[in-house]
Amino acid sequence: MSSERSETGKAGVIVAPEDASAMDTLAHSVLDDLLYNIVHDLLIKVHRDEKMARAATAAIKVEKLANEASDLSTPDAKPDVRMETDAAIYEDGKVLLKGNPLKLTKEILCPRCRLPRLLYPTDGKGARKPDPGIAYCKKHPYIEKPGYDIYGQTWVAPGPGRGKKKKDVANDSNSLATGVEGGAKDRPPNVLSFPSATCSKCKRCILVTRLNNHMGSCIGNSGRNASRAAAQKICNGGSNGGSQNNDNTPPGSQKGTPLPGSRAASPRKRDMDEFDEDAEESDPTNPKKKKVKPNALPRKVILKTKPPVKKEKVKGNSMLNVEQKVDDEDGNNNGGKNSTVQVAPKKSTPAKGPSPTKKVKLGQNKLPPPSSTKKGAKRDRDMESESSGTLSSPPQ
């Protein structure tokens, strides 16, 4: 570049005009070289990822062949055979490449699960249809599609008036989903709703969007904070929303009354309100449907989004989790989701008469929640409104 003067650099993209001065030409060629370097560096990076993945794939394939040929039960042992594929040779426990893996190996196997990687997203930008006959590695390329997350999921709009909104959303999403009529029940599997979680103190199941609010009044230093909140409310006027209005009364009484009673009093009262809300919302659709919904819904979500194998695995995981956590937080664990377990824990909740049966169903159908402590998390919003009906009869 420095020896002979040219109008451009190595990339040859940024070209100086013919009548440019020497400095101009130099500036153009420097810029052009820098551009070249950027592309070069990017290419090296991608080349590395791709070539190493293909080389590993070639190695995995030939090792698999060798293992099959020698039929050893111990996976770690090095079979004493010589195997050869188009891309690699297996010999003395070593894998030797033949030629360039970029040319000879077409697919990429996951080095962990040894299944082929899906190379294109299934939806959105750059999407391609995966071959239904192939079991792919579960790590998929991320989806880039407006309104959806990287897994192609979307959420039912939260907030008050959810029952109606839910329908709207479903109708809006007509284009992408099949059979969205009839509201939440026929919601496509990639449309998720907000879960509920268990309050670690009162063991009540609370819709996640209200969890902070609930914990503030339930845990937040029993009466003290509530009264502070009340003071705040007075200052702020109506800004704090309806639910707090109900909190208002209990705090005063809380100071006088013994703890357990008062503790239960305020949330319950508040919850009742929430439940009423919910009931109202779902009523117009169909009261009978209410009973079907909770069971049908989560099951659908599971079946459609995840293959059955996966489901078992997850379940296995979460069971393990539960075992691990039994010592320190069993109360929390059981409080929420699984009424099957719920019968056992320390806090007796005998009054939950009708709910256990229903909940058992839920528990079985439901995707097991990620953590033991979040048993309630996966619960569908509809479920919450359903079980809340039962909960609103005094739990203690």
Partner: protein, 527 residues
Amino acid sequence: MSARPATPASPKNFKVKAPQPGQPLYGCEHLQRLFNQDQATTNTSIQHYKAALRIILDTTPLIPQTAKSIEGAISTSLTPTYLCLQCPWTLTEDDRAKHGNKKSHRFYVESRSGALYCQMCDDIVWDPTFEDLRLRKIGTGTFSTSGFPQAYHSNTAKFDRKRKHDELFAQDPAKDSPQFISTNTTVASCKANGLRGIYNAGATCYQNVVLQSFLHNPVLRNFYLSDGHQSNTCEMQHCLSCAMDDMFQDFYALENTNGYTAANILSGFWISDKKAFENLVTTKEQDAHEFFQFLAEELHERNGDGKKPESGSEHSCNCIIHQTFYGKLQSTTTCQSCGGVTNQVQSFLDLSLPLENLTQKKGKKHGGKIPAMTLQECLDEEYIKSDKCEYRCNACNTMQQARRQTSIKCLPNVLSIQLKRFEFKQGRNERAAKIDTPVHFPLQLNMLPYTNRAQVKDNSELARSATYDLLSVVVHVGEIDTGHYVSYCRVGDQWFAFNDHKVELAQKSEVLGARAYLLFYIVRSLA
């Protein structure tokens, strides 16, 4: 060229990296032939590769970028050149083939990354043995697996990444064997990748953004995933560190892709006797930075020496939070009358950079219109420039004018920076205001100028240890009293945008264009 030192024959015999399952032994057939000739060839090849890497990574770029043609014409270029692996010759891409044909030298080291080019494959090859050396050199600045020369330790201990590296990744060779690893780890599904949203539990987005930045912090992730704090043996009720442990498990071990409900974090937060915020009101939105401080202190107490952190002094602790976030500041106060110097050292969890003064200064210069600032300008203001102050001089024994200069004495592994966008304005009913000035921040940050070793020139080890890469960005959108927090985190080279339960892919340009409130940088040599 010519500068390549002729490496004396070392008595040590180099070995090719032991075969790993699922990986070929050599980068290509031709390297296989090279390595199988005899021990001497293997030795010189590896020595030459190391020498080439040293030239590329440790010396000024002028040396590797200067090539000599076959005819002997010397030229320096901006674009990659190729260092011959078999002789001390640097060539341009065009001359590479000629040199190869003439001398039968077939392997070249690319001058920008140190990658190996094989002429017979006509492609870059990624050989496990060479790649190991290259990554180690880039990561730690040295080829050796064990420790630095002792002398180095003592005088540059605080900049010594290798030491920190070793502390964090301390390895017992027995525990490094694949056998040990496979019997003692649970393999998570390929689908579990730590990318999940966190549901907003009612104005808790300020917590979610901080939790996401913790979740995608490799140091914290490694700590929790390697059972650094085991929730099943912890005695503490409602322990926040246990809640973190559970959360890490759920993010990195389960296949769930829907949002996470951070119920335990939330209840731990509510139960904690240390109130994170004064006037904690359930529905009120809070400050993400305060939550970050709260969470860091809480986790320190659960994992550390139990002492209350900092409060102005130098606090050393080996807990994961200190290892991750804490650095040390040194303020030097010079008395203007007697010239006496006082040094004070202080631990810091994060660097808080005021924006208001600089904004006003710049605004005046540009006639009221406030131009964008850079992060480096803000850092200059705090850690390079000195300011005047009144102080009681011990030597003079009176109040004196003094100059005070603060610089960083010890850089943390993860540097957290707060841009003070929320300032209380005096007078006007003490109303706080949000400063919305854009502050440009880089993907790669050099912190060396802000340390007390800024004057040391040409020390590549220092420069390396002060180079940081952007890890996550917390952004506040909206007004001061109401708004929303979102965050961006980097996983590998890909950026993701986290908005409560929603996770989306993000472009670098989107990240860099954000009006950051909190920035997290991770030291490069750890990555």
